[in-house]
Subunit: 350 residues, 2 copies
Amino acid sequence: MTQTVIAYGAQSQAAAISQISIERREVTPADISIDIMYCGICHSDIHQVNNDWGGAIYPIVPGHEIIGKVTNIGNQVTKFKVGDIVGVGVMVGSCGNCGSCKDNFEQYCEQGFIGTYSSKDPKHDEITYGGYSENIVVDEKFVLHVPTNLALNAVAPLLCAGITTYSPLRNWNVKSGDTVGVIGLGGLGHMGIKLAKAMGAHVVMITSSPNKAKDAKSLGADAVIISKNSEDMQNNANKFDILLNTVPVSHDLNPYLSLLKRDGTMILVGAIEPFKAGELNGFNLIFGRKRLGGSLIGGLKETQEMLDFCGENNIIPDVEMITASEINNAYKRMLNNDVKYRFVIDFTKK
Amino acid sequence: MTQTVIAYGAQSQAAAISQISIERREVTPADISIDIMYCGICHSDIHQVNNDWGGAIYPIVPGHEIIGKVTNIGNQVTKFKVGDIVGVGVMVGSCGNCGSCKDNFEQYCEQGFIGTYSSKDPKHDEITYGGYSENIVVDEKFVLHVPTNLALNAVAPLLCAGITTYSPLRNWNVKSGDTVGVIGLGGLGHMGIKLAKAMGAHVVMITSSPNKAKDAKSLGADAVIISKNSEDMQNNANKFDILLNTVPVSHDLNPYLSLLKRDGTMILVGAIEPFKAGELNGFNLIFGRKRLGGSLIGGLKETQEMLDFCGENNIIPDVEMITASEINNAYKRMLNNDVKYRFVIDFTKK
C-alpha cells in the first residue's frame, strides 16, 4: 500500500522549493522503509532543480545524502532490521547484470544507474523522489550501515561528498608518503583534505582564495598553494602524485597539470561540462607522461567501506544545520559560496 | 679537430631544404663519430623547419631517425667499436642528474633534453644539427645498437615513430587479451598496429578514411572502425582497454573516449596543441572513470629494448626510399598524406 508523505520540491524549472505531497511505493520484499532524519544539500541539487544539465523530471524532490531510521522491512531483507540507522546516497538502483555492477561499481552501470531522485525506475515503474522528505523506500542493496559513533546529523554528506572524494583517492592508491593536492575548498574539497590526510598523505589545498588558507589548515591541510600566485605555482611544479580537482565548472586545467610529477594524475570529480578552448593542452600531458582522469561517486561496497573508514577515523563533514523551511535561502547562500561546508536539513525538527 | 660535412637544411623559416656545409665537433672522449647511411623524415621535421612550434634555430638541419656506421670513437667509449651499425634518435643529451634521467626516462629530463637538431647543447657549446647529413658526432650514451637481422634502410623510423608507439604500449602494460585501438594511420599509426599486434593484443585501426581499411588489415589490424560512421562507433562503445591516439593535430576527443572500457586510457602521442572548445568533456572521463594520458618518445634504455624487440619479432616500418635531392618533394607529399608510411633518405647513394 502506498503512503503519502510530506516532501520539499520544485514544481517546475526555476521554481522555489516548497512543501508538496508525494506517494512512496509500498514496501516490496527487498525494500526498506526509512524515516528520514537528516538530508545534506549537494550543489548538484541546485543544478538539477534548475535543469542545468537537462533531463529533470518535475515535480523534483532533491536530496541524495540521506540518514534515517528503518521503520519497516520487506520479508526478504537480510541486512537490516527495524530501528537501524541507515544511509542512502546517490543511487537507488542499477541493472545488476553488467560488468560494472558485477564488479561492485554500480555507479558505472552500463545501463545507467537509477538516481535517488528525478530518475525513471523501470523495476518499480515510478519516478524517484529524493531525501528532502519525511520518508523513503529503497531496495536494501542500496542502503548502507552507518557507524554509530559518529554525529548522525553530520554524517549525511558522506553519502555524496564523502564517497566522491574517497573513491578516487582509494582507486589511485593514495598512501603514506604521497603528496596529494586538493583543488577547490567547498563541500567536496573539505572532505578531500580530511580523507587524504587520514590515508597518510601529505595534503596541500590549492585554492584561488587567499582567505581560505587558514580554514584549509584547520581542516588538516599541511600546506596551501594560492593558484592565482604564479610564483607559488612555479615553486610547486612537479611535486604532486595526485591532484583531486573538485572545481565544479570547466576551467583551465593547464596550470594544475604543471604541478604533477611525471606519471602523476589529476582526477576530475567536479567539472562535467565541455571544456573551453585552450583549457587543455596536449603538450602538458605528453611532456611528463601525465594523466587526466575522472571519477564518479562510488559503488555500494566502497561506500560502505568509506563509512566504516570514517567511523574508525572519526571523520565527519563540517555542516550547518537548517530546517526544511530554510532550503531556498540555503540555495542562495551556496551560490554565493557562503557555507562551511555543507548544509544539512534536519527532519527531526518539525 | 672539427670536420666540415655536407648537410641538407633550411637557412630560414619557410625556406626550401638545400645542401649546406656544417661543422661537426671533434670527437671528445665519450663521443662516437657516425657516417650516416639512412635518415627517416618525421612529420615534426616539417613543423620545425617552418617554426610552427617556435624556437627553431636557423640554419636548421632536421633528422632524428638516424642509422649509420661508426667511424671513430673517443678514448672513453666502451659500448661501441669502429664498424658497428648504430642508431641515433630524437635526443643527443640530457642533464643526467634529475629523477627522470636517473630513472632512465631521459625524454622527461627536468632540465629539458637536448634535441638531435635545432637545440642548444651547453655541454659542447654548440647548436645541434640533425641527420640530414653525411656524418654526426654523438655522446655514446645516446647511441643505440641496431639488430643486424633487420633491413637497415627501413630501421631508421624506429628511432622516433617506433619508440613513440612502443613506449606507451609497454608503459600501459599491453598484453595478450587486451583490445588496443590505434587512432590514425600514418607513420606512428602503422607502427602502433605492428607493435601492439606483436605484444599479443587484439588490434583495431580507427580511421576517418574508409580507403585505409585494407591497408590497415594488411599491416596486421584485426579489425577497422571508420570514425565518421556513428553506427560503427556506437557498436564499439566500451570495448577498448587502450587507445593510442596518433592524430597529429588537436581534434574532438569525446567520440573516442566513448570507445574505452571502464578504467580504460586514451594516450595522446600526436596532438600537442591546445585543444579547442568542446574537444574534451569532463562527463566522458567521470562516467566510466576513464583516463587521458600522454607519452613522449622513450628513454634510451627502452629505445634499446624496442630495437631488440623489433629484431626478435622481425618488425620494420614500411618505407619509401629517396635521395637527399628529393627531400622538398617528399615534404610536399607528406603534407598531402601521400606516403606509406615513412620516407627515408638514403645517404649511401651520393
